[in-house]
């Protein structure tokens, strides 16, 4: 199980200084919506951008996090 704060700080580690918002979509701490504004997404396809976010979630993704809605944008 991972909390909203836990996921936010995990993502903040990988997206240093970027805007990171995390929302629990169902109140069950396993369906999250994540909005990240980062220059790291520049010039990348949506799939590549989302893969960066997947990597930041590490092994939490699919173990603790069953579903992740991702919204990426550049500053």
């Amino acid at each position: 199980m991972i909390s909203v704060e836990g996921l936010r700080s995990l993502l903040k580690e990988h997206f240093e200084g970027d805007e990171v918002e995390v929302r629990d979509m169902t109140g069950t701490s396993d369906h999250f919506e994540v909005c990240i504004v980062s220059a790291a997404f520049e010039g990348k396809s949506l799939i590549e951008q989302h893969k960066l976010v997947h990597a930041a979630c590490g092994e939490h993704l699919t173990r603790a996090i069953h579903a992740l809605k991702i919204k990426t944008s550049t500053p």
């Binding site: 799939i47 997947h54 919204k71």
Partner: protein, 104 residues
Amino acid sequence: MNTEQIKEIVESHPVVVFAKGSKLQPMCGFSAHAMEILNRTGRPYEVVNIFDEEDTRANLVSYSSWPTTPQVFIGGELVGGSDIVEEEFGSGTLQQRLETAFGS
């Protein structure tokens, strides 16, 4: 379903959705959302219920190197999950992919 069978179905149908549940009974909101968007395009699509066979999910994850479901493939290429499908529907990219995949 092994990776060979996954490759075969993805390359033999213009649109394939690997989902939790079936077209009539999606078992996850994200899978249902992806199908709902595809319904809005009016294009036919194949649904593979990852729960139908034991090893489908693990083989799918290794085939597409994408950890979650649903996974939408158009023209044999991974588009992504319901968030990307929704975003591309909004930008019109999804409709272009479908035109290419269906040839019109």
